[in-house]
Each structure stands twice: as C-alpha cells, then as structure tokens.
Symmetry: C2
Subunit: 285 residues, 2 copies
C-alpha cells in the first residue's frame, strides 16, 4: 500500500477513535483528494478493519463502533494531548491539523522570547559536525550588561521544563556550561571544537533521585501518591542528568516542600536527600 493511502487510513482511524466519527468531506479537506477517492478510502478502511465503521444515516456520518479496535495506530493519550498543546501555540509549521473538533482547552502561558530559527539551525549544525561557533549571547552575569560574542563548542540540547539550553564548552570560562537558547541572538563563524562531548561529565553522569510521598500527608494520601507515580514499596526512582539536577529540584518544587507549600501541593519529596545534596553541590561547583 502506498504511503498516501496508509496515511489516509491512519487519519480515518485517528478521527474515529478520538473524535468519534468521520466524513468524506473530512478526508477531502485534509488531503485534497476527490470525493470518489474519499469514498474508496472509507470502503478500504472497512475492508482492512472490519466492524470498526458504522454509518449513521441520521447523522450522515461514520461513527466508531462500540467494539472499535484500532489497527493502524496505537491510541496514546500523550500523543493526543501533545497535539492538543500544539493547537494552542498556533504556528505549527509541519504538523497537520489532525484535530477537528478539539475540546475547549488551555495551557498555562509561559512567557518567553522566541528562539530564532537560524540560530537554532546553526547550533544544530555545530553539534552535528562537532565544531565550535560564536554566539552573540546575553549573559545574566552582572559584569556583562550587554550581549557579546562568545565562542562555544555545543554538543547537546537540554530542556529544563520551561526552556531549552545549549549544553556547550565555553571557550571563555574553559568549562562546560548551559546557554539559554533564546538568549542567543546571532551566530557567526565556525571554528575548531574546544572540547570533546565526552568530557562533559555533568551531562553524562546521572543521579538516581529516589522520590517518596510527602510524609506530611496522611497515610491514605501517601498511598494515592504512590499510585500516581507508580511507585513500588513507596519509592520511585528517576534518573536525572547531573547537569539538569538543579532544574529538577526547582521545577518539582522539591526545595520548598517542607517550608512553604501545603503538603498536598508537593506530593513527593526526595528520599535520598543527603546523596541528592551532594550530587547537586557537585553539579553547581
């Protein structure tokens, strides 16, 4: 079966599962095929996935059968929700509007300067080809009130939950650091790499964070949290790169749990705190 046909069948199934029904017109709109072709696609889908399709004459619409069994996709809530989130942001670029009758929804607005496509493209190239590059970077350091050109040897990208960083060797400070992608305004001439990606110990080393339900919670609440995090024996372990450990602490509000927050707002605490603090100190050095 050709790629285009396969995609259309996948689309039919996606709509059936997530939105409950589909039309010839939906297919025509999405793929720009003719009406007879859309008919054929629906017939073909019925052939490949017998019993999934029921035509509701009254609604003039195909509906998913009660015992609907997907064959062209694995229904995955995360995927659907990711699509939904993209819908929000607008400007989708490559992605299609697979979601027609999306529910009303909203995500927390995270205000931020946007990343320049050309900058990202050049950084990706430097990572791929293993060379250094100069970025016109706005540091937060008090000594550097205006942006300046800095040579870096990038080797990876990291996301701290709110924004993306470039993980790179800094040719000025002679060590590996994070550079916030949105603070890179321009790039210019490439050069030789200043360090091997393998030498970035904090990036490659991971610390195993042990999380346990907040002891300030009642026993029944703790057991709920244990289920929520799919814990075994009241523990769950999360591998976190040492370079991301600090952000992990902040994002999950693990630092304020016992001080400020209502216990039920901080569901989990770090169980191996001593080791965690040691690893964090190492990462911050």
């Amino acid at each position: 079966m050709r790629w285009g046909v396969e995609k259309r069948l996948e689309f039919i199934e996606f709509r059936l599962f997530w939105e409950g029904g589909i039309n010839r017109a939906d297919i025509v709109d999405q793929f720009g095929v003719s009406v007879p072709q859309a008919s054929k696609d629906l017939t073909l889908y019925e052939e490949k996935a017998p019993g999934n399709l029921i035509y509701d004459k009254s609604a003039k619409r195909y509906k998913a059968a009660d015992d609907f069994k997907p064959v062209f996709m694995q229904p995955n809530a995360s995927t659907y929700l990711a699509h939904l989130r993209e819908t929000n942001g607008g400007a989708s670029g490559v992605t299609e509007a697979w979601l027609a009758s999306a529910p009303e929804h909203d995500a927390l607005p995270i205000p931020h300067r946007r990343v320049e496509a050309d900058v990202l493209r050049d950084v990706l190239k430097a990572i791929r080809e293993g060379h250094s590059i100069e970025v016109f970077y706005q540091s937060m350091s008090a000594k550097k009130p205006s942006p300046e050109w800095r040579r870096i040897s990038p080797h990876a990208l990291g996301n701290d939950g709110l924004r993306w960083h470039i993980r790179a060797f800094c040719h000025i400070d002679h060590k590996f650091k994070d550079f916030i992608l949105s603070r890179c305004m321009k790039t210019r001439k490439q050069g030789l790499s200043g360090a091997s990606a393998n030498d970035d110990k904090l990036w490659h080393d991971r610390f195993v964070v042990a999380l346990a339900p907040n002891p300030a919670l009642s026993e029944s609440q703790r057991s709920i949290i244990a289920q929520d995090y799919e814990m075994t024996n009241g523990r769950t372990e999360v591998m976190v790169r040492k370079a991301l450990l600090y952000y992990f602490l902040k994002r999950l509000r693990l630092d304020v749990a016992d001080k400020l927050d209502n216990p039920h707002e901080v569901p989990v605490v770090v169980a191996n705190r001593a080791a965690f603090d040691a690893a964090l100190a190492e990462a911050m050095a």
Copy 2:
C-alpha cells in the same frame, strides 16, 4: 500537486533546513517510494525552489545552499523543538520521525502516571456532546482514601504545565472543579449535563498578570529580562484564566521569589500584586 508529492517536497525542505542535507535514501526510507521516484522528487524540488539544492559529490549528499530560502514551510524553532521533545518520550503514535540526525538532547523527566486512552476518549466525547459522565476518581481529600465513582459534566481540558486537568462541574459538590486526568481510572454511563459550560466563571474569566523584572536584580540585568520577555516599558502582560492562576503562581515560582530563591533564578515578579492576590483569593474560594 498531489498531497503525497507536496509532503515529500516539504520533507526535503525540512531536512535541508534543519539537518543541512538529504539523500535519495532518506526519501525512500521515509515514504517507501522507489529510488527513481526519489530522484524525480529531488529534481522537482530543484524546479520549485531553484538554487536551494547543491549536490556535494564528495559527501554524496544534497546540501542546503548558503542562501537557502524555504518555500514549502516556515522554519519555526518551536516546531523543531517540539519534535525533539517528542523524540524523547518515545511512543509517538501518529507523528513521523522527521528528525534523522537529531542532536543529543534530554528533557527534565516529569514522573507521572500515564493517562488511559479510553478514559480520555470518553471524556472528550462527553465534552463534545455536552453530557455528564461518571469517572472512577482518586481524590486527594483525606475523607476519600480510595477511588470512587463521581459524576461530572466536563467542558474543557486544562494544562498546568505538569499535567492535564479536566475542567468540569462536579455533581457531588455542585460546583466547577479540576479533575486530574491521570487520576481518572475508568469511566461509565453517560447522563444529562449538570451545568452549562458558560457558567464556569473561573474558567472563562481571565486575569491580566503584569510581570516586571525582579527589582532585586541589577539595572542591567533587569533590562536583559525585559528583552527576554519582550517587555515594553519594563512590563509584560499575560492573560491567565482565573482557574489556572494558582498554577501560574506555583509554576513560575512567583510565590517564593522574594523568600527563597536567588534573584537571578526568579527573573520576573508580579507587578500588580494586590489585584493578583484578590483574583487568586476569588479563584480559590
């Protein structure tokens, strides 16, 4: 031009821009077309976007010209980064692997129970068709140590930055509330809606949060933050639904800024704090 052809040209352009080069083999792998067809596609691309394509005989690979000008897509860093993030999570479902030579990357792991696809599907249906539904829900309330069936009339989905909520009228408490999607284990019989979506005042009302650079920062740092957030006159305004206001506070760590964090970790503070607190109190009532 047919949809399939268009997609392949878009793919060629995507790879050229973000990964710097493309091969016949890439097209064959991605779309399952024959080798001669991939050749024709590349020729066609050159026709439609003259000058973008340069064949590097030595690397045996088409490369993007220096003055590459995309015609089939708008290069958008957010889109690329969203793709990258999906790569991390695995289990992509519908999305394709447009990224071949993705850079090394990692996102902060956010541990959580996964959402059941069937539950989400049923909730979406209830929202779409405007009826109520029973969910087997694990509340955090101390009075309800084990999950129980609750009838809700959902009307929207909300994301607090870490997880998705159902925004719904609760038939037990007779008010609109958030239900954490991953804590809904099962669903069962539909019923009549208990309230109109329009009556959810906290969902529809938005509060305009005024953000300003943290005054604890130096002047030069404040101006950097102002650029970062694309502020005008040292202010930026963010519209936040009152139902999400509390999460906004927590997620941006606006509550701990002055108490716990190093100023340069909390770049912005709320400028209209009195009004903010009033709106928050209203939302929490």
